[in-house]
């Protein structure tokens, strides 16, 4: 298979996957977003080719059996790791469609996850693991600018400077803490504790992509359940003052999201 054939294959696979997902979920992406998604795959292939070519296993299913919660419930932990590469060294990679900067700033979450996966791998297969890492496939803005400008030299430079690999070191103590926490969550789910987080949590601020966002905007803003949620209601009342009409609550889609939604869904409507 030549490089050209492989790129053609990627285009085809991408298009087919898109069609299948569209048929399954009934949702569409805007032209722009769809192009950006394809771009991410193509750039991954260009930048991470040596990793991609040495992958030996995909969608590796991992299970940690026979756990027990504080209340005596038996459970097991399951996870799926994207790729494993086993040649002279064994490396486990999880692919995230975020950018490396985002992954770096939320490192803690990824550490917990990959540490558990690494623990299961070593326990399950009885084989050591040499490295675990995240591949952050969203390219940095320099790459985007070079692409936009159509400047091949700048693109080469930006691609060379891009560091999509985020190394995640292994820490055994963390594994135990995560398993303990996991047990608590299992008990809470089985006991049907489903209250939303308190108002204070909704007001918490996070840093992502150099911007500061609140839990309420980042998480609740994307949750259809917010309208019937007591915490979110308390949040809107606390932040919008009492004089804002109740209906204000319903008009809080960011205009860009609204536009994207319209672009994606109206276009497919016309095509059919």
């Amino acid at each position: 298979m030549t490089d050209q054939e492989l790129e053609t294959a990627i285009l085809e696979i991408f298009e087919q996957n898109y069609e299948i997902l569209q048929a399954e979920g009934g949702h569409s992406l805007t032209e722009d977003t769809k192009r950006a998604a394809l771009q991410q795959v193509l750039l991954y292939w260009r930048k991470m080719r040596d990793v991609a070519e040495r992958v030996t296993e995909t969608e590796v299913k991992l299970t940690l059996p026979e756990q027990q919660t504080r209340k005596g419930r038996k459970y097991s932990i399951h996870g799926v790791v994207d790729v494993v590469q086993e040649e002279e060294r064994t490396v486990m990679y999880d692919i995230k469609t975020h950018d490396a900067e985002y992954v770096q700033s939320n490192r803690g979450d990824y550490e917990k996850q990959l540490n558990i996966y690494a623990h299961i791998w070593q326990e399950l297969r009885g084989q050591p693991l040499d490295q675990t890492a995240i591949i952050a496939t969203a390219h940095p803005k320099e790459v985007k600018q070079a692409l936009h400008a159509g400047d091949e030299a700048a693109l080469e430079a930006a691609l060379a400077a891009w560091e999509p690999l985020v190394d995640i070191p292994f820490a055994q103590q963390q594994v135990e803490a995560v398993i303990a926490d996991f047990s608590e969550v299992v008990d809470a789910i089985e006991d049907r504790q489903f209250s939303p987080p308190p108002l204070s949590r909704l007001e918490q601020r996070y840093k992502t992509r150099g911007r500061e966002k609140r839990f309420a905007t980042q998480i609740c803003g994307n949750c259809d359940g917010r309208f019937s949620c007591s915490s979110y209601r308390a949040y809107t009342q606390a932040n919008r003052g009492g004089d804002v009409s109740f209906n204000r609550y319903f008009r809080d889609f960011e205009s860009t999201d609204q536009e994207a939604w319209l672009n994606a869904n109206l276009e497919t409507n016309l095509e059919s």
């Binding site: 294959a9 990627i10 696979i13 991408f14 996957n17 997902l21 048929a23 979920g25 009934g26 949702h27 992406l29 977003t33 950006a36 998604a37 991410q40 991609a52 995909t58 299970t63 059996p65 026979e66 419930r73 038996k74 459970y75 097991s76 994207d82 692919i95 996850q113 399950l124 297969r125 996991f182 969550v185 299992v186 809470a188 006991d191 049907r192 489903f194 209250s195 939303p196 987080p197 998480i219 949750c223 259809d224 359940g225 019937s228 949620c229 007591s230 009409s245 109740f246 209906n247 609550y249 319903f250 999201d257 994207a260 939604w261 319209l262 869904n265 109206l266 497919t268 409507n269 016309l270």
Partner: protein
């Protein structure tokens, strides 16, 4: 493989909280490893445990790799239990020996799931560069696919069916009487027959010649047209459940080594397999001949889905002819579930039917069974109501239920199950009212129609209020009933609107928005007309933008949309590329609502009564309403699957949307009665008494079972008569079939009970119980509710889950940590989210990267 130091018996001994002590037959079945095995398993005989230990024995002590085992179950739930159980037991072995096991690649699942898995398994198609999984349509998808007017008309036009084809088809299915020109009726009839054709693997070209009936020939041609339309050889093929199996069988037939991939093929609930599944299983087992089937012909329930109980009853003969070898038969005949009286009762029940074949050629049933109760408790455990009129019967039963709850004979109302042959009979509603009169709540989302539950009525009532009610035509039957339902919904909406002024304001705002986009649409169309522009022509911003934006009376929102900088830049660019927007697109864009019907649903949930229903679930006190609301979102999202989520004015005007949504989609759901949803969730919502069909109760057990209507009139389904001459296989005689099926169905119901089985004994004009219940209840000593002493009734044991439940790191742990309430809605109760852009982006990238890696791996090897 394991060292000699550990034995299977050691692991049985090591089990917590108590060791496993199999009876001799169970042990023989577990230790069997070689050749075909035929397990005839009575109700509650521990077959799941046997399967579990047998599989463990193969893996741990006989060196079989998990991926060399094919284990098919009837439901997802059974598959999950087996997988989790195996994981848990293997974990125990690992803890003792240090030997790790990985069953992630093992085949455990429903036939359908396993078919999907084997179609992309490289062991069957080593040369395949890129596996394609066909899109799967469930029964409702299939109905909408077929009943699409354009599809159906084109399909009919491709045949030689007479002019009023729907009439001819329905008349044919009704045995030459009562035709109807309803497309709905013609489609539902054909759909069942098509699936049967697929399950019997009938080739339309071949069966066409086996009938002289012109209408049936036409229907066979429709089937051929339908199959052709699915693009099975194309890039994005679609299949229904039946055709999925056919595609999988094809994969096997094209693979020379198909019979050697699995060293062990194990099939649970074998009595409910169909013809094509039997072919699949025998193909898979052809090489190693290790096929183990487990089942109970007495519990065969799924003839209407193409199941042939003969697969099980005649398994020994089939093994001989197909595999040319003998088999081991082991009966699992000790019942651990029910008290002795219950076991004796249903064994007696079953023997009251004559199962023998004509000419003494054996039986239509596996007769050498001797089901015995493990329990030696001799107290009465089967009790009937007094023989009486329905009102009296249901009152007596409701009182007993109340007593059982008050005396804490069960821990929760969800341990008392009411089973009915059908949830559509009058007795169901009577029973429910009697229980409610005792202050008890029922969970019966499938009783009557799902659309008639309180939660559906509330949602659709407000939708009707907002979008307007479709006009009532002059029809009777289903249509008139549906129109009455619409009225009920509207009345319900009026109550909610009066009770909550905020809701009234919100609904008013929605109505205003619809008014505005409709008026904007008229205005913009008039501008186009004035300038002589066709709506389909290319949009040229330089000429059209200003006249449209400056139209008199246009809303600010529409004006902004037309003058939007981004869209105009895009429009110019596309114009240059020779792929311009149409004027229609620009107008639609400016005159569409900001929300989809699913968005609207979630916003309405801010108000009463919805808000309280969510609060109940958050507190864990009543799950009934939230389960129903979750189902409502699934239906709404189905509508969105087939229609754009964006509501444009051109869709809203002239009642187009109202007709598509209410008169086509909702009306179809109303008529179908959603009987296709049969997999009941277990455990059932706390605090409520479940009402189930007997079919839904398959595989379940309850401390108390009430057979709410021991009546089912035997009737052969027309489909059986139609199909019989087309297949060259001898089955149960048509004239006995219905009687056999009724016996088996009630056998399933009776054998669900652990501690107490209650029979409703209707006895008045028009209300009665079927045979053999009538004869059995004729016994003057039969225990009756008024004399029933609850003191002798054991208290239902709290069931400890001895199988570890599987939790996912990302979709359980991380999701719950993010927000427990979000977890509750989208993970636990199956709510469908409305906006999924980011999710779809991630999915398509992830999937393509995975495929790329697989492609690279395949290329290297």
């Amino acid at each position: 493989m394991i060292t000699a130091s550990l034995t299977l018996q050691d692991i049985w001994q090591a089990l917590e909280p108590r060791p496993f002590q199999p009876n001799p037959n169970q042990a023989n079945a577990i230790l069997h490893t070689d050749g075909p095995l035929y397990l005839t398993a009575g109700p509650g005989s521990g077959k799941t445990r046997v399967l579990l230990w047998r599989t463990l024995n193969l893996i741990v002590f006989h060196g079989i790799q998990p991926e060399e085992i094919f284990l098919s179950t009837f439901t997802e739930k059974a598959a999950r239990q087996l997988r989790e159980g195996l994981q848990s037991l293997l974990g125990i072995v690992t803890n003792q020996t240090g030997q790790p096991y990985d069953i992630a690649r093992m085949y455990v699942g429903t036939v359908h799931a396993l078919c999907q898995q084997l179609m992309i398994d490289r062991r069957f198609s080593p040369d395949m560069l890129r596996p394609v999984t066909p899109g799967l349509m469930d029964a409702l998808d299939q109905y909408f696919y077929l009943s699409d007017r354009r599809f159906w008309e084109a399909a009919i036009a491709s045949t030689e069916l007479p002019d009023n084809a729907n009439y001819a088809i329905t008349e044919f299915f009704n045995g030459g009487k009562w035709g109807s020109s309803s497309r709905h009726k013609a489609v539902t009839n054909c759909l069942n027959l098509f699936n049967r054709f697929s399950e019997e693997c009938l080739d339309p070209a071949e069966i066409r010649d086996r009938t002289d009936n012109e209408i049936l020939k036409g229907i066979i041609d429709l089937y051929a047209y339908y199959k052709d339309s699915l693009g099975l050889e194309g890039r994005t093929p679609q299949v229904d459940f039946a055709l999925l199996q056919q595609q999988a069988l094809q994969t096997l037939q094209q693979s020379p080594d198909a019979g050697r991939v699995f060293k062990h093929v194990i099939i649970d609930e074998y009595q409910d397999t169909n013809s094509i599944q039997e072919q699949l299983f025998f193909q898979l087992a052809a090489g190693h001949q290790n096929i183990c089937v487990v089942g109970d012909d007495d519990q065969a329930l799924y003839r209407f889905r193409g199941a042939t109980v003969e697969n099980f009853v005649q398994f020994p003969e089939r093994v001989k002819t197909t595999l040319d070898c003998s088999l081991t038969q082991i009966p699992l005949d000790i019942n651990y579930r029910s008290r002795k009286h219950i076991v004796d009762f249903y064994t007696d029940f079953m023997s009251r039917c004559n199962w023998s074949r004509p000419d003494n050629r054996g039986h239509y049933r596996v007769v050498d069974k001797d089901i015995r109760a493990h329990s030696s408790d001799h107290h009465p455990a089967v009790v009937a109501s007094s023989p009486a009129k329905p009102d009296q019967v249901v009152a007596e039963i409701a009182e007993l239920v109340k007593r059982l709850l008050d005396e804490q004979k069960v821990a929760d109302p969800n341990q008392i199950a009411f089973l009915f042959p059908s949830l559509k009979s009058k007795q169901v509603e009577r029973m429910r009212q009697a229980l409610e009169a005792q202050g008890l709540s029922v969970y019966a989302p499938r009783a009557g129609r799902f659309l008639e539950v309180e939660e559906s009525v509330a949602v659709f009532g407000l939708f009707l209020q907002i979008f307007g009610r479709p006009e009532r035509g002059e029809y009777k039957g289903d249509y008139a009933e549906f129109q009455d339902w619409l009225d009920t919904c509207l009345q319900d909406a009026h109550q909610h609107l009066t009770a909550d002024p905020n809701l009234a304001t919100y609904v008013g705002d929605c109505q205003d928005e619809i008014e505005t986009v409709l008026s904007d649409y008229q205005i913009l169309c008039r501008v186009a007309e004035k300038h002589g522009w066709e709506l389909d022509e290319a949009y040229t911003p330089s000429q059209m933008e200003q006249p449209l934006a400056q139209a008199f009376g246009l809303s600010e929102k529409a004006r902004k949309s037309i003058t939007n900088v981004y869209i105009n830049r895009l429009a110019k660019q596309r114009h240059l590329e020779g792929n311009p927007f149409s004027l229609k697109y620009i107008i639609n864009r400016a005159t569409s609502l900001d929300w989809s019907i699913l968005d609207l649903f979630y916003r309405l949930c801010a108000f009463q009564p919805f808000k309280s229903w969510f609060d109940l679930a958050e507190q864990g006190s009543d799950e009934g309403p939230i389960c129903n609301l979750g189902l409502v979102t699934q239906y709404l999202s189905r509508f969105l699957d087939h229609n754009s989520p964006v509501l444009t004015a051109s869709f809203l005007q002239d009642s187009k949307f109202i007709n598509a949504f209410f008169m086509r989609f909702v009306y179809s759901l109303f008529r179908l009665g959603e009987s296709e949803f049969e997999n009941a969730e277990d455990p059932f919502p706390k605090g409520r008494i479940p009402f189930l069909t007997i079919h839904q109760s398959k595989g379940l057990e309850f401390p108390v079972v009430i057979l709410g209507n021991p009546r089912k009139d035997p009737k052969v389904q027309p489909i059986e008569t139609i199909v019989r001459p087309l297949i060259d296989r001898e089955g149960e005689p048509l004239e006995r079939m219905a009687e056999f099926d009724v016996m088996r169905m009630f056998y399933v119901a009776l054998s669900r009970a652990e501690n107490l089985l209650v029979l409703a004994h209707f006895s008045s004009a028009g209300n009665f119980v079927s045979e053999p219940f009538r004869t059995l209840l004729d016994n003057p000593d039969f225990p009756r509710i008024p004399h029933f002493d609850t003191n002798a009734l054991p208290v239902a044991a709290f069931k400890e889950e001895d199988i570890a439940r599987a939790y996912s790191y990302t979709s359980d742990y991380l999701l719950y940590q993010k927000c427990p309430r979000q977890y509750m809605l989208f993970r636990k109760y199956g709510f469908v989210a409305s906006r999924t852009q980011t999710q779809m982006f991630g999915s398509v990238v992830h999937q393509t990267l995975e495929d790329l890696h697989d492609l690279l791996i395949a290329k290297r090897t």
